[in-house]
C-alpha cells in the first residue's frame, strides 16, 4: 500500500521521478520510539502531506529529512542525494519552514531576505530582484524597514516562508506552516504553496488540519505513534470509512414526525435542528428511493453527506486531529531536540 504510488489516483503522482524516498526510517529518544520504520516515496512536483496527532513524530520526520537530526536507521534519498553521504547536496535542494519562525528579529524583512540571498550565494542583482519580488508577493512592503521584533505572528510566519523561498528550492518542507494563523492568512499561505507546485516544486507538508491536507495534498499519509497507519489520496482515505448519508431538514416538528413514521427505524432524528439522517450509499437511486416515500413538500433542504477526513482520522488514530491526546502511554509529547 505504501510504496505503491503507480496505482495512485493522483495525477501528480503518475510517472514522475521520486523527489524523496525513505526506507525503514527509525528514530528513538532514549527508550521512546518516535519513528518506528517509515517508508515513503514522494513524486517530484507533488504535495505530500504527513498528517498526525500531536506527538505522532511529524516534526522529528521533518528534522531528519531536512538534515537537522540524524536517524537511528533507514535510507533516505532527497533530490537524488543520499542524506547520510551527501547532506550538503540535500541542503542545496531543499527549503525548510519549521514550526517556529526562524527569522532574525533584529533585522527588518528586507535584511532577513538579503541574508538568505547572500547565504545562497546569489549574485547581487539576482538576490536583490528575488528579495524585492518576495517582499511584494508576501505583502511585506509596508513593514519593510521595521525590525521583525515588531511584527505580528502572521507576518513573521509570512517572512519565514519567504526566506525559505529565496534559494528557489526544488523541495520544500513545511512543518505545520499555518498553525496559529487566521483563516485569511491560512488561505494566502495555501495559495503560495499552490503557486510553487505549479512551478514544479515538491512540497512535504505536515499539518494537524485535515482541511489543509484535503485542500492541498496529492497524497496523504497518516502517522500515529511513529508508524504510518494509512496512505493514499484524500478520496482513497475517505473511502476507507463507510457511511454516506442523506440529511433532510424539515420546517416543523409535525413534518419531522411524519417523515420518521414513514421511514422507520433506520433514520437518525435530531429535534434540535429538525433534521433526519438516513444512512445510504450516496447513489442517486437511493436518494430517489427515500424521496419517493416522503411528502417532498415538507422537506426544506436535502444534503448528501460523505465521510470527512476527520472521520477517517478518528477511525485510524482513535483521536481527533487537533485535540489533546487521551492516550496515557506518555507518547503524546514529542521531545524537542
Amino acid at each position: 500500500m505504501i510504496t505503491n504510488t503507480a496505482s495512485a489516483g493522483s495525477a501528480a503522482g503518475l510517472r514522475r521521478p521520486a523527489a524523496i524516498t525513505v526506507t525503514g526510517l527509525r528514530k528513538s529518544y532514549g527508550d521512546q520510539v518516535v519513528l518506528d520504520g517509515i517508508d515513503l516515496n514522494i513524486a517530484a512536483g507533488s504535495v505530500f502531506c504527513l498528517l498526525g496527532p500531536n506527538g505522532a513524530g511529524k516534526t522529528t520526520a521533518v528534522k531528519i529529512l531536512s538534515t537537522l537530526t540524524g536517524p537511528d536507521a533507514g535510507q533516505v534519498t532527497i533530490a537524488g542525494h543520499d542524506l547520510a553521504a551527501d547532506p550538503d547536496g540535500v541542503r542545496a535542494a531543499i527549503g525548510v519552514t519549521g514550526q517556529f519562525s526562524a527569522v532574525d528579529i533584529y533585522l527588518n524583512a528586507e535584511e532577513n531576505l538579503r541574508l538568505m540571498a547572500d547565504l545562497h550565494h546569489l549574485d547581487r542583482r539576482t538576490g536583490r530582484q528575488r528579495c524585492a519580488g518576495l517582499i511584494e508577493q508576501f505583502d511585506l512592503g509596508e513593514a519593510g524597514k521595521k525590525p521583525v521584533a515588531a511584527f505580528s505572528g502572521g507576518m513573521k510566519r509570512r517572512l519565514d516562508l519567504a526566506m525559505t523561498l529565496v534559494g528557489s528550492p526544488r523541495i520544500i518542507f513545511l512543518d505545520e506552516p499555518t498553525t496559529g494563523l487566521d483563516p485569511r492568512a491560512r488561505r494566502a499561505t495555501w495559495q503560495i504553496i499552490r503557486d510553487r507546485v505549479a512551478e514544479g516544486v515538491t512540497i512535504f507538508l505536515t499539518t494537524q488540519y485535515l482541511e489543509e491536507a484535503d485542500e492541498l495534498a496529492d497524497r496523504i499519509a497518516v502517522l500515529d505513534h511513529g508508524r504510518l497507519v494509512a496512505e493514499g489520496t484524500a478520496a482513497e482515505l475517505k473511502r476507507r470509512v463507510p457511511g454516506s448519508s442523506i440529511v433532510l431538514s424539515f420546517g416543523t416538528v409535525t413534518a419531522l414526525d411524519a417523515a420518521v413514521r414513514t421511514l422507520g427505524g433506520q433514520a437518525i432524528r435530531s429535534d434540535d435542528d429538525l433534521t433526519l439522517q438516513i444512512p445510504g450509499d450516496g447513489s442517486a437511486r437511493s436518494v430517489q428511493a427515500v424521496l419517493n416515500r416522503l411528502d417532498t413538500e415538507s422537506v426544506e433542504n436535502l444534503e448528501l453527506r460523505t465521510p470527512e477526513l476527520d472521520d477517517v482520522f478518528l477511525a485510524l488514530t482513535g483521536q481527533s486531529p487537533a485535540g489533546t491526546s487521551t492516550d496515557s502511554t506518555g507518547t503524546d509529547k514529542e521531545p524537542q531536540a
Binding site: L68, A92, G95, G98, S101, A102, D104, L107, P147, A337
Partner: protein
C-alpha cells in the same frame, strides 16, 4: 559540491549580520560597557579615597587609584563581553535562526567563527570605551607604543578565550535565562584577584585562591604593560591561561554545537 568554497563569503555574511544585531540590540552592548564603568565610578569615587591611600602604600607609588584599578576593570569587560556572547548565542539557538542556517548548504563553521569574531570585536570596542571613561577620570599610563601594542594583544587573547567560553555557555544552556546566568561568576572574578586591591592584603585562604585564579596573572601583566609595574612570571602565566581557557571553551562549544545537531 563543496561548501568550503564559500568559507570566507559565508563567514563575512554572518559576521555582518552579527555586528548589525549588536548595534540593533543595544541592551546587551550597554551592559557590556556599563557594568565595568559602573564599578570604575564606584571604586574610584566612592571607595577610592580610602582604598587608594592603602593601595598606594602597599603596591606602587601611584597616588591615583584609577591607575591601579583600571586593568582589573578592563579585564572585567572581557567577562561582560563573554556574557554578551553567551546571550547572543543562546538567542540565536532559541529563535531557530541557527536551525535554518543548518538546513542550508553553507560553510558550517562560519556560524561559530562569525560569532567569535563579532563578539571579540564588540568586547574590544567596549574595552576602548571603558578606557576612554578612565582617561576622562584622570587615568594616565606610563606605557610607550610597544607597551600599548602588547597590552592590546593581551586583551585580544583574553577576549578570545572568554568569548569561546561564553559561546560554549550559550550553546549548552537550554534556556536564555541559564545562558545569561552561567557566565556571571566570571564578572566577579577580578574582585577576588588583584583587580581592586593587591592580593597580599587578603587573608591566607582567599589570597591563595586570588593568586592562582586566571584573572590575577592577566591583570598583573596588563598592569605591568600599562603602568610599568614588575611582570615577572605573570606574562607567561597569562598567555598560558588564555590558551588553556580557549582550548576548554572551544572544545566544549564544538561538542555542544555537534550535540545539538544529532539530539
Amino acid at each position: 559540491m563543496s561548501t568550503a568554497t564559500y568559507a570566507v563569503s559565508d563567514t563575512v555574511t554572518l559576521l555582518r549580520r552579527n555586528l548589525k544585531n549588536n548595534l540593533r540590540y543595544p541592551t546587551s552592548a550597554i551592559a557590556i560597557v556599563g557594568i565595568p564603568v559602573l564599578f570604575l565610578l564606584l571604586f574610584v569615587y566612592v571607595f577610592g579615597g580610602a582604598l587608594g591611600t592603602a593601595v598606594a602604600a602597599t603596591a606602587h607609588g601611584s597616588t591615583h587609584y584609577v591607575n591601579y584599578v583600571l586593568p582589573g576593570l578592563i579585564i572585567m569587560t572581557a567577562a561582560t563581553g563573554s556574557l554578551g556572547a553567551s546571550v547572543s548565542t543562546s538567542v540565536d539557538m532559541t529563535e531557530g535562526i541557527i536551525a535554518r542556517f543548518r538546513t542550508m548548504a553553507i560553510f558550517r563553521p562560519a556560524i561559530l567563527i562569525a560569532r567569535v569574531l563579532s563578539s571579540v570585536t564588540q568586547t574590544l570596542t567596549s574595552m576602548a570605551l571603558v578606557l576612554g571613561v578612565a582617561v576622562a577620570m584622570g587615568f594616565s599610563a606610563t606605557a610607550g607604543l610597544a607597551g600599548w601594542l602588547a597590552a592590546i594583544g593581551l586583551l585580544a587573547l583574553t577576549s578570545f578565550a572568554l568569548t569561546w567560553l561564553g559561546i560554549a555557555f550559550g550553546l549548552a544552556a537550554k534556556t536564555l535565562d541559564a545562558a545569561s546566568n552561567a557566565p556571571f561568576p566570571l564578572i566577579l572574578l577580578p574582585f577576588v584577584g588583584s583587580g581592586i586591591v593587591p592580593t597580599r592584603s587578603m587573608p591566607t585562604a582567599v589570597r591563595y585562591f586570588a593568586e592562582y585564579q586566571p584573572f590575577t596573572p592577566i591583570i598583573e601583566t596588563l598592569r605591568g604593560l600599562l603602568m610599568g609595574t614588575p611582570i615577572g612570571s605573570n606574562g607567561i602565566l597569562a598567555v598560558a591561561w588564555c590558551a588553556g581557557l580557549t582550548a576548554v571553551g572551544f572544545g566544549w562549544a564544538m561538542k555542544a554545537f555537534r550535540r545539538e545537531r544529532t539530539a
